[in-house]
Symmetry: C2
Subunit: 346 residues, 2 copies
């Protein structure tokens, strides 16, 4: 459990204590969709050209780099690659909000850390409870209920919770350029997958409507579930407070192998937790595309890399340089970061 817990702690409850100050609102560039350009939110720079070149080559029948559609598997990290992850991973924000919502039913939490600190907004106390505290929070918010009840809770949170800086629903803080890339890949015969350290059930609640990625193409960390037959003959799956699989770092190639069973030909990530996924994708014969999103845009989103508690990009950035992976400079490469807010959000 100790090595597994490490992932959750990296995944950021501690980072809550280091939350960046809340800045001013976003400033989107207008969304002008160039005729026939599948990636209109991407500036005409090296990463965009590399993507267009790669997709063109693997889908050109009879060409030297042609890849059969069944083998056009593309994998994407989620946090920091498809949607934002600052100031704390959104799933951690969900867990903290759940603790606050559940507190009235748990009078014992009034004196027990990390629950007391979460309810009172004392993030220092929360951080001091360390990994053990985080596991308690995950157990209290992600276990002891049916999968159905959990999904309903996540859906409700996505409807009602707002990001502290942008004041928008969390699932609207997805990257417009990456949505275009997903759609372009699918239109080019690719099958798109999420391969994320985040919880698989948490992501599946929004992945289909947000990214067009169906539940069966979402790979993530998972807990143990237990099949229980009710007295009326209706079964349920109950989520237990046991980790089944951590899909992060060297776990990502194992997750790809276990859940997908094919080596991808395209992988996109943004942090050191994605390094092995990109290395695994790069291995083997034939054309490959490896990409990293580099968060360089403090004005429109966030700027962080080698020192960040959340989504640290350090070793993988060095590796990208050595291996010639494509590094997307958010500030320079993306015309716009988030989709415009729908009328209902304004």
């Amino acid at each position: 459990m100790s090595t597994r817990g490490d992932t959750f702690s990296r995944r950021g409850l501690l980072a809550a204590a280091a939350a960046v100050p809340i800045l001013a609102g976003p400033s989107w560039a207008g969304a002008v969709r160039a005729q026939g350009d599948p990636l209109p939110s991407w500036n005409d720079r090296a990463p965009k050209r590399a993507i267009l070149d790669f997709v063109g080559r693997v889908s050109r029948e009879g060409g030297p780099d042609f890849v059969l559609p069944a083998r056009r598997v593309a994998v994407f990290d989620n946090d920091g690659t498809l949607w934002a992850e600052q100031p704390i991973y959104f799933q951690v924000a969900f867990a903290l909000d759940r603790v606050k919502a559940l507190a009235p039913e748990h009078p014992d939490w009034k004196e027990a850390q990390p629950f007391k600190g979460i309810v009172e907004g004392d993030l220092k106390a929360v951080a001091a409870s360390g990994e053990r505290g985080l596991l308690q929070v995950m157990a209290a918010t992600h276990a002891g209920m049916t999968t159905e009840a959990f999904n309903a809770t996540v859906a409700d949170w996505l409807r009602t919770a707002r990001h502290p800086r942008f004041n928008r629903p969390y699932d609207s803080l997805v990257y417009q350029p990456m949505l275009e890339l997903l759609a372009y890949l699918r239109a080019s015969g690719f099958k798109t997958f999420i391969v994320s350290g985040g919880g698989v059930e948490f992501m599946r609640v929004f992945a289909e409507r947000t990214y067009g990625i169906p539940p069966e193409q979402v790979v993530g960390s998972s807990g143990v579930t237990k099949f229980e037959m009710g007295p009326d003959g209706t079964p349920a799956l109950v989520k237990e407070a046991k980790v089944a699989f951590i899909d992060d770092g060297p776990g990502k190639p194992s997750g790809i192998d276990r859940f997908i069973g094919r080596q991808p030909i395209l992988a996109f990530g943004n942090s050191d937790g994605d390094q092995q996924m990109l290395e695994w994708t790069a291995a083997g014969a034939g054309p490959r595309f490896l990409g990293l999103v580099h968060h360089t845009d403090a004005e429109r989103e966030f700027a962080y890399d080698r020192q960040s508690h959340v989504g640290r990009l350090n070793q993988a950035l060095d590796e990208a340089g050595r291996r010639g992976w494509t590094v997307v400079d958010m500030r320079q490469d993306w015309k716009q970061v988030f989709p415009p807010a729908p009328r209902s959000e304004r």
Copy 2:
């Protein structure tokens, strides 16, 4: 490990000791494909009519039972449902053959059970080594190598090994009526999955070419893999002798939840290990189809149910009666069992 090992022992090394006598060759009915009949190898009886009725209802747009294509998830057990499983599970036959092939490299096996018994054909000694022996066999034949090397070994075995009774490659002993059902479902907008207690990597070697089911739609039991970076910067996944997940019995609903993330609307199995998968599929609103293959055909295939060591069908058969599931009587419902042998096999 002890409860997990139980699955492997049910899965049949012990059954090797109880192997039925080898009977005469098969006697296929000729494959006459009726014009426009999607299930030509099925006799016109209740199970066929129930399948046609169900598929018609869920795919009739505007009808009361219409189901969106994205939700038309169909799950199939493999051993005994899509291909044969007697006299021993085919993956166990593979493991035994591997022990024989590897024996020259392992002089220590000459005196150690169960290896000695396997090499000498002393199945009583093999059975006497029990669960511990079986785990040793699985570790020796399914671990300590890269995933790539394992896949190559399975592919080679499928090319060269022959079933003791039918003298045909194991992957030709698939059920023609079920191949027709898989194709019919896919043509009707279903996504077809395997959900099997067998090893996921073992099945993926042949599932795509044999059943038209791609690797990412195969759910099964799995071992732990470890990501290792070679000195030349080429990574590999090494299979370890640790069980990660047993996809059998109550594990099947958990496997469906973890790997697919949707509740199926059609499930087909053949043994008690499939009962919870069918119960889970039956739960929830909307039309459902639940089917069991009942092995009643000693002449063309095998006849076994409540007492069998391999693929026991006892409690689930009672449950089928109580819940009104469709039970396919192989002898009466299927015009032909296996596809005709291709020229190369004759």
